[in-house]
Symmetry: C2
Subunit: 198 residues, 2 copies
């Protein structure tokens, strides 16, 4: 299982953002939505082995888990995904059940990272880390990424303390959705060549 | 210079599509917009050496060229980019000048490919091609990609005849924007390691 844990530092957690203004009222919800698309979608459907945890911090913290194989009514475009996130944030606030494969909770960053570490090896994607091509990555991995801003010093400390390994996709500063597409690609390449290593 | 030539088989060329329905009225304009984002944007601005040619075929053919270093008022989210494409399609129809760095013309697929071959080496991204990691790719390259549907047999014939090389990013069928992010990444890696080769 591959898991992407994406931190939306300013992402609206109330569900009252406008779908025609995701960068503004959504608190860069455009980045969050594209990250989901990039993580879960292949050209003709959803990946079977990937999940995304969105740790949204622009308000009362919420973690939105989207489980690829269980998700329904999800399409790869930004607006559709942002709409599904909004619907589920609103339903959670109203005490209603979410849509299939999407689970909202009150977890903050520390709790989400600790929970992810219980069943997977953690990696923190960072320009200064070890080249992903030479890193040993086995099954059940969680890849932690920021949104348009890097992790804060406090978040970095949490990640350090829990023992996440820093890995890098090169020296260019990429968008989160691009970094996720590339991580999926590097892992697909390994699977195709039949190795867990580089 | 890197160039991505993306074919939008059903993409609206009239400019009368709705920004809140890019997949439907736009003819998968969501895919086109995300491809532009993926090609041109780094986390904190535009790439200096990349351009995108959008060959839009859902109506009278139009080719929209977006030149990274010249573009203004462009943001990385799907809606903004689709809005800029729409504005420029409408202005072209009305005989008005486009926005900086965006150029619309009547070129169809054959003309766009021939024009691209005049100043660059052509590559056609295709699952069955040569592994991109082992392909020799030098400066001034054009990478040709379809949208949600592959190139038609007629388009493939044009690409074949002009001598484009087939290269592959692996066996998974990716979204166009994902394939572009990965191609940029593979080329960045080469530049960082100081080689034109794998």
């Amino acid at each position: 299982m591959r898991r992407f844990l994406v931190v939306g530092h300013r992402a609206n957690t109330n569900g009252d953002f406008r779908l025609d203004d995701l960068p503004g009222t959504g608190g860069r919800m455009d980045i969050i939505a594209m990250s989901v698309s990039s993580a879960l979608f292949l050209s003709h459907g959803l990946r079977k082995d990937v999940e995304v945890w969105l740790v949204l911090l622009g308000g009362v913290p919420r973690t939105v888990k989207i489980i690829g194989p269980e998700a329904r009514y999800l399409f790869p475009d930004e607006r559709n995904i942002a709409g599904m996130i909004r619907t589920n944030l609103l339903r959670y606030r109203e005490g209603k059940r979410g849509t299939p494969g999407i689970y909202v909770s009150d977890m903050d960053f520390r709790e989400a990272v600790e929970s992810a570490s219980a069943d997977s090896v953690l990696f923190y994607l960072e320009e200064d880390g070890e080249n992903i091509r030479f890193a040993e990555i086995r099954e059940n991995s969680t890849f932690i990424l920021g949104d348009s801003t890097d992790l804060t010093p406090e978040e970095e400390e949490i990640v350090e303390k829990i023992g996440a390994r820093r890995i890098s996709l090169g020296r260019k500063s990429l968008h989160t959705y691009q970094a996720i597409a590339i991580t999926n690609y590097e892992l697909d390449r390994r699977e195709e060549s039949g190795t867990g290593g580089p």
